[in-house]
């Protein structure tokens, strides 16, 4: 059989070291796999692989040692079983996500739902270079958005209703970055030190600290690999209904400013965050 390796990679079949053997990559959606999907993966690993799956760092599963002659059968079974393949090569990859505020007490945003939207809008799209997207619901950053080409981080901005404050000082104590100082029985916020995680709001016994706004910070340019770089904020407090637009914007800016062979991190390093943000603004005005 003639093998189109590019098609195989796109569909999540990765040639492994051993001759004619492939690693089949599956993805989770918003980091979740149903128990039926897990059972199906186990069955496939037994039928086509070597009775194990590899759990990937991007919330995926891989079944190694699949024979190329089983490719067509396996593809059909994968579809029938309701599993989702991952991808490889110059495409947008699996969106990694934390559980979010649906189940996590510290979550500020519903990242599960947003991850599903992102997966639907972006997964598998052909792009100049592999592009990874990660989303976390709060600055604890469990899904590490700052390590991804495009990252989303849930944030909340506090505002003080001074007349409600009882001067208990809890906010000063729970702030992780010493952004709040009690002065004459009232809290003073140094916003340059604020990490937007909202401990003050959560802990205030009288709700004197309130939410001013919440949304997502958009990060661009994270990557690990041989030259790790952390993503940088290119847009702030983006509401849920604009997240998809902003991710499109980052991709567009990368298309405009990037050169061949660059990851977003390289483009950002080369042109600088200011130029990147400026192009984002230009795209926003056009869009």
């Amino acid at each position: 059989m003639t093998i189109d390796y590019n098609e195989l990679k796109k569909g999540g079949f990765l040639k492994q070291k051993q001759k004619d053997k492939y690693i089949v990559r599956f993805r989770s959606l918003a980091g979740n796999l149903s128990s039926d999907q897990l059972r199906a993966l186990a069955d496939l690993a037994d039928k086509y692989g070597q009775n194990y799956v590899h759990v990937t760092t991007r919330q995926g599963m891989e079944i190694p040692f699949v024979a190329i002659t089983d490719y067509n059968d396996m593809k059909t079974e994968i579809k029938d079983l309701g599993l989702n393949t991952g991808t490889c090569g110059p495409r947008i990859r699996t969106v990694v996500a934390c559980p979010g505020n649906e189940v996590c007490g510290q979550g500020l945003m519903n990242t599960r739902e947003m991850a599903l939207h992102l997966d639907e809008a972006f997964f598998g799209r052909d792009v100049p270079m592999k592009t990874k997207i990660g989303i976390s619901g709060c600055p604890n950053s469990c899904a590490k958005p700052q390590e991804n080409d495009i990252g989303l981080l849930g944030v909340i901005e506090p505002v003080l209703q001074e007349d409600l404050c009882i001067g208990c000082g809890i906010c000063q104590k729970v702030c992780p970055n010493k952004a709040i100082t009690m002065v004459d029985g009232k809290p003073i916020l140094d916003e340059s030190r604020c990490l937007y995680e909202g401990n003050c709001i959560a802990s205030c016994p009288v709700d004197a600290w309130l939410e001013q706004r919440r949304g997502y910070q958009v990060y661009a340019g994270g990557k690990i690999g041989r030259k790790p770089r952390l993503g940088q904020v290119v847009a702030e407090f983006i509401p849920e209904d604009q997240v998809i637009d902003y991710v499109e914007m980052v991709l567009k800016v990368f298309e405009v400013l990037g050169t061949q062979g660059e990851r977003i991190a390289d483009t950002l390093s080369r042109v600088g965050p200011e130029a990147f943000r400026q192009e984002m603004e230009a795209q926003r005005k056009n869009g």
């Binding site: 007490g105 009882i166 208990c168 809890i170 104590k173 729970v174 959560a202 802990s203 016994p205 009288v206």
Partner: protein, 80 residues
């Protein structure tokens, strides 16, 4: 402000680790009547970071917090 309030009950959780700290506070509060005040002594670090917001999440009210040496004293009013 803490000086004006008399506690109905006391709890010292400085020997406990999270989440037992919060669990003990929660259980103690459950045994009290609405409006009664519990005085809790707790350590710096994880306890003071976690107990107030957890207690708030349960519907109780922190009336005051005071540092006492290397520890903290919380006055909590039992909610509904």
């Amino acid at each position: 402000m803490a000086n004006n309030i008399n506690a109905n009950s006391n709890l010292d959780i400085t020997a406990d680790v999270c989440p037992i700290t919060f669990v003990k506070v929660k259980l103690k509060l459950e045994q009290m009547k609405q409006g009664e005040v519990l005085e809790v002594i707790l350590n710096d670090g994880e306890p003071i970071q976690n107990v107030p917001r957890s207690v708030k999440g349960e519907g109780h009210k922190i009336l005051a917090v005071e540092s006492v040496g290397s520890k903290y004293k919380l006055l909590i009013e039992r909610g509904e």
